[in-house]
């Protein structure tokens, strides 16, 4: 009973933060939303948290299944017919880096991070279930030859991955939505999930 109330309470608090967040210029902190990790009734807690992030548009927008990056919280196809092209970094002369620089641009609202670009087609997650995304992610044939250790490093240290929590403002100056799990929590969840054997729950 206590656990339930705590969970509802933290969900409400979380919702409040999200609402408040959209109108606030301050960088959001999630420190208030702390699940009690040891008491959680959810068996796949780490997996779910990780997937809450990976399936969020901040991540999914650049893991498309059609070579076309998506934009915005409603994930529309990138304006002006932009695509990943042959190397996932744009066409011959109009590249991702024509507009996207190593960091966000607050004046234009163009997001940026190092090696901005699309995930390779082998890592297309659009349209996949959570389990399928996880399978694709763990498969060294599709993930660029990464073992678990390399995956953890990629997911918890890569600047483009971590951009999801610093997505900056859009063209109209509004802060982009961040994933529903904090960066710290995500990192912990990823590490624990891999440490516990990277078990993909059956759907």
């Amino acid at each position: 009973m206590n656990v339930k109330i705590a969970l509802i309470f933290s969900l409400l608090l979380f919702a409040g933060l999200i609402v408040g967040f959209t109108d606030s210029v301050a960088t959001s902190e999630y420190t208030a939303v702390v699940y009690n990790q040891s008491d959680s009734p959810l068996p796949n807690r780490n997996f779910d948290k990780m997937m809450d992030v990976l399936t969020h548009q901040r991540c999914m927008n650049c893991h498309p299944n059609d070579n076309i990056p998506k934009q915005g919280d409603e994930s529309h196809p990138h304006n002006f017919g932009v695509a990943g092209g042959e190397n996932d970094h744009g066409f011959q002369a109009i590249k991702c880096t024509t507009c996207h620089q190593p960091e966000n641009n607050a004046y234009s609202g163009v997001p940026g991070a190092p090696h901005w670009g699309l995930a390779p087609a082998s890592m297309a997650w659009e349209g996949l279930s959570r389990a399928e995304i996880a399978e694709s992610m763990l498969n060294m044939k599709t993930n660029g030859g990464k073992d678990h250790k390399a995956l953890v490093k990629h997911m918890t240290e890569d600047e483009l991955v971590l951009w999801a929590w610093q997505p900056g403002v859009d063209a109209s100056g509004k802060l982009r939505e961040v994933p529903p799990v904090s960066e710290a929590e995500f990192k912990t969840a990823v590490k624990q999930w891999f440490a516990n054997g990277a078990v993909i729950p059956s759907e």
């Binding site: 932009v82 092209g85 011959q92 109009i94 024509t98 507009c99 190593p102 641009n105 004046y107 063209a171």
Partner: protein, 163 residues
Amino acid sequence: MTLALTVNSTSHTIEIADENTPLLWVIRDMLELKGTKFGCGKAACGACTVHVDGEAVRSCSYAVKFAEGKQITTIEGLGDEKNPHPVQQAWIEEVVPQCGYCQPGFMMATAALLEKVSSPTDDDIDKNIINVCRCATYYRMRKAIHRAAALMSSLPLPESQNT
């Protein structure tokens, strides 16, 4: 802060309070090179396209701090009346501009494309030239791009162009 920039092969040292100021405004209002245009400030229209180390970059969305130590080329550095870049020559021969405001951005984007693809197909042009022209001079632009490609393949490139 002090930044050292090389624009059209000329070195400049500028003092600027906000290192995130878009390169566009430094080029236009501090270096007084007005050929690079402001159209939207959102990297959407392409009117502000310049070359940074030979690559097309939309300067309204490029913090000036990133330009330090790089070679910047603007329309003024692409070529001049005495020594036009083949893209400019082709633009003249096809009488492309109408109002002319967006044209420098298109020419810079085209010059960057021809550096990568010497003889672009229509599909290459459609994918890579995605600037906005309200006079809708696209029909002549396409002809001029093909003409520029022909000029570049049969003529030696002028020395001054494209750092």
